[in-house]
Symmetry: C2
Subunit: 469 residues, 2 copies
Amino acid sequence: MFDASVYTARRDALRSKVKGGVILLPGHVDSPINNAANCYRFRQDSNFAYYFGIYKPGMVGVIDEGGRSIIYGDDVSLDDIVWTGPVPTVREQAEEVGVKTTRPLRDLPADLQVAIRKGQRMHIAPPYRAETVLQLSEWLGLMPTHVRNYASEELIAAIISMREVKSAGEIEELDRIAEVGYEMQTAAMRMAQPGEQENTIFGVLEGIAATGGNLTSFGSIISQHGETLHNDKHFDILREGRLLLVDCGVEAYSNYVTDNTRTIPVGGTFTPQQLDMYNLVLQAQEYGIAHSKSGVRYLDVHLGVCGVIVEGLRAMGLVRGDVKEAVEIGVQGLFFPHGLGHMMGLDCHDMESLGETLVGYSRDVARSKQFGLSALRCAKELKEGFVVTVEPGIYFIPELIDQWKAQGVMKGFINYDEVEKYRNFGGIRLEDDIVITAGGCRIIGKKRIPIAPADVTAEVQKGRFAGKK
Amino acid sequence: MFDASVYTARRDALRSKVKGGVILLPGHVDSPINNAANCYRFRQDSNFAYYFGIYKPGMVGVIDEGGRSIIYGDDVSLDDIVWTGPVPTVREQAEEVGVKTTRPLRDLPADLQVAIRKGQRMHIAPPYRAETVLQLSEWLGLMPTHVRNYASEELIAAIISMREVKSAGEIEELDRIAEVGYEMQTAAMRMAQPGEQENTIFGVLEGIAATGGNLTSFGSIISQHGETLHNDKHFDILREGRLLLVDCGVEAYSNYVTDNTRTIPVGGTFTPQQLDMYNLVLQAQEYGIAHSKSGVRYLDVHLGVCGVIVEGLRAMGLVRGDVKEAVEIGVQGLFFPHGLGHMMGLDCHDMESLGETLVGYSRDVARSKQFGLSALRCAKELKEGFVVTVEPGIYFIPELIDQWKAQGVMKGFINYDEVEKYRNFGGIRLEDDIVITAGGCRIIGKKRIPIAPADVTAEVQKGRFAGKK
Ligand SMILES: [Mn+2]
Ligand SMILES: [Mn+2]
């Protein structure tokens, strides 16, 4: 992906941040679907990709106490070439990322044991794939159940401090892959016609992601039930008058991703009720973008957005009372039960495997237990080079409304009779990805995915008049 | 997928085949991509799907010594419903497949330990996912490295004896999903135009598979280098005069799959050399279909097909000498270094996780060590209800030709000077899926994917005249 010097500099910086011991970063092996030889699309571990830049299965990266980088891996045999075609050697791949020492994988356990006997600490990140747990268990002589506890806080903190600030090269790659994300969202708009199947749109977006990248960055949400936040079902037929929530992204071969949400009126016409609510979410989202800049805590941007939402809902008669007080006690949780956004980069929820709270919070910003606010993934002070999503939403979740209403939750602030009128509304979410710049922030990608109601409607109309579904 | 009575009958039959002990069939959990919460598309274990018929993660099926079926699994909590929407309970799902007893997952280890203390054997299939290894290690108190050795030969044999014979209902599902396989292959033909990218075709096929099913059944091979048998690269631009090999399939939500290969002249015109070779592969494939019937060993069909290929290559001047003798010593290995086919059903390589040789061979048919023949996945006697692929091919693999030529392998039979003229030919493979019937066999699916040269060419031409890539 990048020049060898980039990876060398990253490894040197990591080595200088982690005092002593061996830094052990296993790359991914293939993940079997239904037998050992039939695997899911390969996807490299993001830490390995960041420091060792090789996108092939079965590699392990080590930075030893002396600062030397070593890649452990095995070459393909001549017999395998009939099946795989010619493949560069481990040595050739290592050279591309500035690593001069390579060894066969079978040497790794013994090499690590030598270091352990010298009293050197093994620094590992928390493993999240069972294959990695099994490898680390074997290599380090730990019980599988103990491997997670063995993760190094020092290594985790060092990686976060580096990966959270994106370089110009990384932002360029994010801008590049954003074009595929744009194509996915606008294709969904053109297909949002009555009679179309959610599943057909799902498939087309998979196809666009596979053409322009390696994978979707997560299971696409394509649903007329946007109120179910992580709805993985997409078997319904589109109906005029419903809103279709599309939350999807592509993952490049480099692992850099996109993550965008649009909410589309099926057939291209908003009802007045939908349009009012849409404009409120849009106002909240643009408030979020306008207030995201270096030195501001994302928690405060989130709370500001909550204020916009509560204010708007009050104007519509769904909420009453003092807005500031309402936001403080968490009235918005009924309508907006998730956070404003998360960091993004080599992962959609960037670095989440290192620990969501370690990534998104800091010594100065503690995680709240309040319903809704507790789901905020990124709360800490923004810095230049941070990439975050801005994704407020308003939802009417029947199960949640019933629960709160029955318990009389915040009934002084919530006009449940009025809320009932929206019971079958569904949900709206709008999400862009931004990078914090010297002056404030900007949206990733050359052009913003249509978001103004008229622009979304126009895109849907294009599909309608294309004369084919 | 099927009525409860089907699953109950399958479990009863399995119980009667496996004498004593506990049959333990863990369903799949989700497979993480880049953190525990972001997972690949869920795909159930095929044995669990066959006997317990539930397609949700986190379930475990047990048939106890008394023949009682139990499903272990946990219900979704009310807090989760905000994210997932309403989900049927474990009890409701169990009832759908005729299982009356359900328990929380945390009860499983203790229940198994009770049975173990009573001296009951635990019958497990060989685990192929690391998650399953970790689960079994914990539940059975075994070292992870020991779990695979613990697999039950008796259970494996019983499962194979049942799953290898497909019921009318299974064949109906295979016929249904074949329509999506047809759509994938013909879409590839229409897109096989000069200037098109392999990757764009790859993406479109992913999209069709995701629309009509749950997944592709394996990583699609879309390559102008068909001579690399499992070529997972698809980054080239299509060029007039090349052959594009497309080997792909869809996997239904039921896990039933398709697996078809076609080889397409880019732009729609075969060169005379290509056409001759294509017709030879087609003749071999149709020989294979014509000779597949109950009571015949698939090994013998494979060897018959090899005879057709060697005979044809002799007519072209690439091979010389006695055909029978040539086939016996394995001359065809240079051109056709793989087997005629494999069983297919709930897996593309059906039941391969139970052991390829256990599935495809029998006491009477041993596995050969001869290059090429050793790769034959299914060799045993065919029975009514078997579903197998018929997929001969002819390839010119430069690395293999160089190796054999340098070593003078079978130089009495192989005219290496003539072979050199095909060095940049690429490869041709043609694959259909058949079911063995009372009278012989038939191709799965309502209509056969175009295969006659004129029909393939016509399909390519349709794309050319569609006026868009
Ligand atoms: Mn997001
Ligand atoms: Mn096949």
